[in-house]
Amino acid sequence: MDTTPQPLPSTSTPQLGRPLVIRPSRPLLKIDWAEIWHYRDLLMLLVKRDFSSKYRQTILGPLWFLLQPLLTTCVFSVVFGQIARISTGGVPAILFYLNGLIGWNYLAQTFTMGATTFTTHADMFQKVYFPRLVVPLSILISNIFSLLVQLGLFLGFYVYFFATGTEGLPLPNITWGLFPLFVLHLGLLGLGCALWSSALTARYRDLSYLVPVLVQLWMYGTPIIYPLSAVPAAYHDWITLNPATAPIEGIRHIFLSAGVIDYNLYMRSIGITGIILLTGLILFKRAEIHSTDTA
């Protein structure tokens, strides 16, 4: 069918321009970034909604942003540090766990929250069109807040341990500037996983039960509660295939001089992240078209 826009005669409504064509679905990787930019206000309002609705009618309110990682760190310190006595590579346990959790929580939260994009917004998607990608993107952005809170928490403990003369802690240095890049990497990885799982759960609801389990397993498969150096050589190939390993180790390296940054390891991680993100976008676009007919 001829789709080239016809030259239009001038009419009383000058905004008539290139028509918007609605056609049977064409599952292609064609994302209209200009359109997403047009909906940037919606994006930010969704971020605001996530933030302000989350802690309404709670006693402690936004304090939970602090308490959650703190409690997790305490549990880790007791269970893995005191009871199981897993090595933290000579770094104080609290700093070690908090450091690993900064990046990991960002990834995990983006993944789990984004996974339910189609199921939690089904009513809205049935009624109004807007680029669906706005929803996972808003999750990516709204999680930055808790990331910053956790970074602050970590830095607080860092200062405490530094002041009390713990050995081996690096001084603040220029490599700290790499932190946003590691975070971006983890965020995009989480987004890719969220796109995958949301597209699949739109079709197979069963998978929504799987995501939390998967995230949990993935955490144990990532050097969060143990250093990469403690992994037996037999498992080394597997753990370096995990795209989350490199940026998590990177964050540990710049702040604690403890992790391993390996150029090859990092390139592999970027490659895998790219594949997950790209295939995730394709699947998401397909799900976007079909989800309203099967919801």
Partner: protein, 442 residues
């Protein structure tokens, strides 16, 4: 010719029945298994035009064509009403235009920003305040923050909830929530506005306000597409109407003409219907012989609102000792179901419920008398259902009997003919003087 703002070209939409809703992984794997491994061929559906279809079928007859070869051209500034019975494809068409779903085939071209109101208050979050929700809802509908800020006072003013604008909307009444939602929608700046039935909200006063607002938008030169079951509203608002039936366009033209043809199609011949013995609707237990309507002095379906009238149901019963219940429902011209009445609610002469007395084989007449001053003037359809043992429907007559209620002559001279409301009961009113002490007490 002026460039159309909406062009719909041979659009069709197929839904697969039976497996609507997300499939389970197991089912999909089974399908994949039979397709790939057992090399079974997939049956394709041949559609009305003999083309190979995209709609895969696991069993013949599982596809539903919600829209079938629908085309229309709408020019800028037109206000078009879409009518049709439930399931005619109206909502599917609007969903395609609103881009929440895609057509199975065909093409739609839109030349302008589109705001779709398939629902009011989409995305309202109960924990957020009225103000926050106004911004969120506006953004969901495609407004920029700047637009919302500019119109915010007008929106709040229109909704009439200014006192509660900083209260979470979970504390709003449903009416308040709808008013706020409609107010946001009323200030959309899109060139094309698609509205589905949302005006059927709120009290009569707010409805009027909404309809006036829609008129105003139309006068500003916006293109409005409007679906409603309230034919009177639709007729008043839209100069042009499109009538859909079973996914196809039946008629497209001036709304007076299309509406009257449409109403004609859903109406029957008159106030009585009789069938020859054994020919009426029903089965081996009971068959209808006739249904008719009478006022006290004559048999007619032209009735006056302050006179009682009766609906008579004649039937022949084949099965002895049958417990039979008759239900009637009344539907008005806007498709509102006004009430249902069942014969078991009445009692026979000796005071026992009808249901307790089984009928024997033979012919019977059931009569149901409606009191005067119950319904308002207008046109009504009667549905009759005969059921065995309360719940097993045996004979059904739907939309075959109609009657018209007219104002009584006295009434007509005093008041405007359009008295609002679905019913018009005659209530007891009295006036008496009161002293000032009584006012203080109350």
């Amino acid at each position: 010719m002026e460039t159309p703002i909406i062009e719909v070209e041979n659009v069709a939409k197929c839904y697969r029945l039976g497996t609507l809703g997300a499939n389970s992984l197991k089912e999909s794997l089974a399908e994949w298994w039979s397709k790939r491994i057992k090399k079974q061929t997939v049956v394709y559906h041949d559609d009305a035009w003999g083309e190979k279809e995209h709609c895969k079928e696991r069993a013949v007859g599982k596809d539903l064509w919600a829209l079938n070869d629908v085309s229309m051209i709408i020019k800028p500034g037109e206000v078009v009403g879409i009518i049709g019975k439930n399931g005619a494809g109206k909502s599917t068409l609007l969903k395609i235009l609103a881009r929440v779903t895609t057509p199975t085939k065909g093409e739609v071209r839109l030349r302008g920003r589109t705001a779709s109101l398939l629902e009011v208050g989409t995305g309202f979050h109960p924990d957020l305040t009225g103000r926050e929700n106004t911004f969120l809802n506006g953004a969901i509908l495609g407004m920029s923050k700047k637009d919302i800020v500019r119109n915010f006072d007008a929106i709040v003013d229109f909704s009439g909830v200014e006192k509660f604008i900083d209260t979470p909307i979970k504390r709003y009444s449903s009416g308040m929530r709808l008013r706020l939602a409609f107010a946001v929608a009323a200030f959309l700046s899109a060139e094309i506005v698609i509205v589905d039935e949302v005006l059927a909200v709120g009290d009569a006063l707010f409805q009027k306000k909404c309809i006036d607002k829609m008129r105003e938008r139309a006068r500003e030169g916006r293109t409005v597409l409007f679906v409603s079951h309230q034919l009177a509203v639709l007729g008043a608002l839209c100069p042009r109407a499109i009538w859909l039936e079973k996914g196809r366009v039946v008629e497209d033209g001036p709304s007076d003409q299309v509406l009257s043809n449409y109403i004609g199609s859903i109406r029957s011949k008159g106030g009585q219907k009789t069938w020859a013995k054994g020919e009426g609707p029903g089965d081996e237990v009971v068959k209808l012989l006739g249904v008719h309507i009478s006022s006290p002095d004559k048999q007619s379906n032209q009735l006056i609102i302050d006179e009682p009238f009766s609906i008579h149901i004649d039937f022949e019963l084949f099965k002895p000792n049958t417990k039979l219940t008759c239900y009637i429902t009344l539907v008005d011209k806007h498709e509102n179901l006004l009430f249902q009445s069942a014969s078991l609610c009445s009692t026979s002469e000796d005071g026992s419920p009808e249901l307790e007395t089984p009928y024997n084989r033979g012919d019977y007449r059931l009569s149901c008398t409606l009191p005067p001053n119950l319904l308002t003037n207008g046109h009504y359809l009667v549905n009759v259902y005969l059921a065995e043992n309360l719940h097993n429907p045996r004979a059904v007559s739907e939309r075959e009997i109609e009657f018209t209620l007219h104002d009584s002559p006295q009434w007509h001279t005093v008041y405007h003919p359009h008295w609002p409301g679905l019913i018009r009961p005659k209530l007891h009113w009295e006036t008496k003087p009161i002293s000032s002490t009584e006012i203080n007490i109350s």
